[in-house]
């Protein structure tokens, strides 16, 4: 019992847990749609690309979270522009944009004459989360969850039934653009605590685990949040006792849960019938 409570003693660890819980809620809510719409590679590109904004914000002395948000918005806008080119596949454009912004971020950070290192942003520094970061993450995360709940019907139509979506006037590309923005929000709120790389893990892995068990969209979302929050908390407790990198420990716990659920649900999926949601 003491082993479980020890990590919560210091206030900076309490902040770390709050940050992990916020990510554990928001990432799977958005991640459900990322998994269902097969946009995981976009999450990856977004997580790397925001580094450009982080580097520039650091150079300008602005809160890096604002820089990351700015880069996320720009990537989302550019994606919309480049996606109109039918000759190039969406995944190609995504990769070109993501790696270009990542490269810009690396160049800017390597030019900074301070002790700032790339790894701080890639893997996060959970001990340095401030209360101001928590408030900003709560606000951004709250808006993201609200947007998903309000657009639940539109998201469902745009994802599963293009034809009906167009009939009832749901603009699929607009829904896609909103999701890209939500992706940026998830990366931003994960930045300080678990870093940009683990943001993708939290976005995809809990939602993917939930997809293996859920019978409908609501179940998948709720299960994803349950996995996300518990993996975040358990990962942090383990990282505290093992003195291991917190972001990566959370990522490993999430991957472990996925593996176990995958193995347990294997027999059910064996007779090759695909279970659609809803």
């Amino acid at each position: 019992m003491q082993w479980l409570l020890d990590p919560f003693r210091a206030e900076f660890m309490q902040r770390a847990f709050i940050a992990a819980i916020i990510i554990g809620v928001v990432a799977p809510v958005v991640g459900t749609w990322v998994v269902l719409r097969r946009m995981a590679n976009l999450g990856d590109a977004m997580s790397h690309g925001t580094l450009a904004g982080v580097g520039l914000a650091y150079a300008a002395g602005v809160n890096v979270l604002f820089g990351a948000m700015g880069a996320g918005l720009l990537i989302a806008a550019l994606l919309l522009v480049f996606s109109s080119n039918r000759r190039l596949g969406q995944e190609t454009v995504i990769t070109v944009l993501g790696t270009a912004f990542f490269a810009l971020g690396v160049v800017v950070i390597s030019r900074l004459d301070t002790g700032v290192e790339l790894t701080h942003f890639l893997f996060g520094r959970v001990l340095t989360v401030q209360w101001s970061d928590i408030w900003l993450n709560l606000a951004l995360g709250g808006v993201a969850v609200l947007v998903v709940l309000l657009l639940f019907g539109e998201l469902r139509l745009a994802t599963f039934d293009h034809v009906q979506a167009e009939q009832v006037g749901v603009r699929v590309e607009l829904v896609q653009a909103v999701l890209v923005l939500l992706l940026a929000v998830v990366v931003v709120i994960s930045l300080r605590a678990v870093g940009t790389i683990m943001a993708v893990t939290m976005l995809v892995t809990p939602a993917a685990t939930a997809r293996l068990l859920a019978h409908n969209l609501r179940q998948m979302t709720v299960l994803g949040v349950v996995f996300g929050v518990s993996e975040g908390v358990v990962g942090l407790i383990l990282a505290y006792h093992l003195s291991s990198a917190p972001g990566a420990t959370i990522g490993l716990v999430a991957a472990g849960v996925f593996a176990v659920v995958f193995a347990l649900t294997l027999p059910r999926r064996m007779p090759h019938h695909h279970r659609p949601l809803d």
Binding site: P7, R9, A10, E11, F12, M13, A16, D113, T114, G115, V116, E117, H120, R125, V126, L127, T128, Q130, A239, Y240, S243, P246
Partner: protein
């Protein structure tokens, strides 16, 4: 365009190498450069200042670490590599700047390589937190395990060591240019007197303080702490790149609370976020101490020196530790 630049750079480097080789081949006696002055390279700021003060106008000092940059991780540019190969003497501290030391090792025999640690008593890097090395230590990660027990390179933060290095520089320069030896000795004596005054000011300033615990960002101030009876506790290890674990940070917070620490110090040129986390945790404030590994361009423009920046450090320490 970049192609022609690469070609020009390659040409410049080969010419420099050719020049050095011919110099080494035909002039083994006269090892001064074309304008007759000794070419002296200094590994980073405090050594730079010693070389400038001792050499005066009689030598040409090449600074390597650019203003405001971090000295540990410094890597010389190709231009500096050429300068180093042309230098008569290189002054450095062993085991402090690994990238630069690799380059220094590979320099031709015409360059005299002087490790200024000779004659200095090295302090060992202790466990980070006094009294906790038995229990918690094994969980603190490989870096600290490796660091504890090895030599602490931050010798220049004790003025007494600056005196020793100044004497070495005067001796080496005097041997390299015998006609100027008396001038070098005189310059060294002037600078040593200033260092003596600084030493006395520190000893007097820190004699009576409310607290003798110095909580710093990384373990840079061990010599300073030892010289003036302070206890250093560092958030990160000996190198600024290291990250503390949550448990280490917690233990430091408890130690600092128990010792009524009111200020957490962090270093210029390094992120202050961990110091702020710790300060928030125990309700302390933060203040900046300079490690003097490099001075910023602004500081240099304002005429700052080792002595003036150390005096600023003393003022910060006195205010934060409650010295009378």
């Amino acid at each position: 365009m970049s192609h022609s630049r690469t070609a020009r750079r390659a040409l410049a480097i080969s010419l420099a190498a050719l020049f050095t080789a011919s110099l080494a081949a035909c002039s083994s006696v006269d090892d001064t450069s074309s304008d007759g002055r000794l070419e002296v390279a200094a590994a980073f700021y405090p050594i730079d200042e010693i070389a400038q003060r001792v050499g005066g106008a009689l030598v040409d000092v090449v600074s390597l670490v650019p203003p405001g940059s971090e000295a540990h991780e410094f890597e010389p540019t190709p231009q500096q590599l050429a300068d180093l190969e042309n230098a008569d003497v290189v002054f450095y501290l062993a085991d402090f700047q690994p990238n630069l030391e690799k380059v220094i090792e590979s320099l031709p025999a015409s360059v005299q390589k002087v490790n200024l640690l000779d004659g200095i008593t090295m302090r060992q890097i202790g466990s980070n937190l006094p009294g906790t090395d038995d229990g918690d230590h094994e969980e603190e990660g490989d870096h600290e395990e490796a660091a504890a027990g090895s030599d602490d390179p931050h010798v220049w933060l004790d003025p007494a060591n600056m005196r020793t290095m100044t004497a070495t520089v005067a001796r080496v320069l005097g041997a390299a240019s015998a006609s100027d030896a008396a001038a070098f000795e005189a310059n060294a004596a002037t600078y040593t007197a200033e260092l003596d005054t600084l030493d006395d000011t520190f000893a007097a300033g820190l004699a009576q303080c409310d607290s003798d615990v110095l909580v710093t960002g990384h373990q840079a101030f061990g010599y300073l702490a030892d010289a003036y009876g302070l206890t250093q506790v560092a958030i990160a290890g000996i190198s600024p790149g290291e990250e503390p674990s949550a448990q280490t940070l917690e233990a430091i917070a408890e130690f600092a609370s128990a010792n009524d620490v009111t200020t957490i110090f962090f270093e210029e040129n390094l992120p202050d976020d961990l110091a702020r986390t710790l300060a928030d945790e125990i309700g302390a404030s933060t203040a900046v101490l300079s490690t003097l590994e490099s001075l910023s361009s602004d500081q240099l423009d304002d005429g700052a020196t080792y002595i003036s920046v150390m005096e600023e450090n003393l003022a910060t320490l006195c205010a934060s530790l409650g010295c009378r």
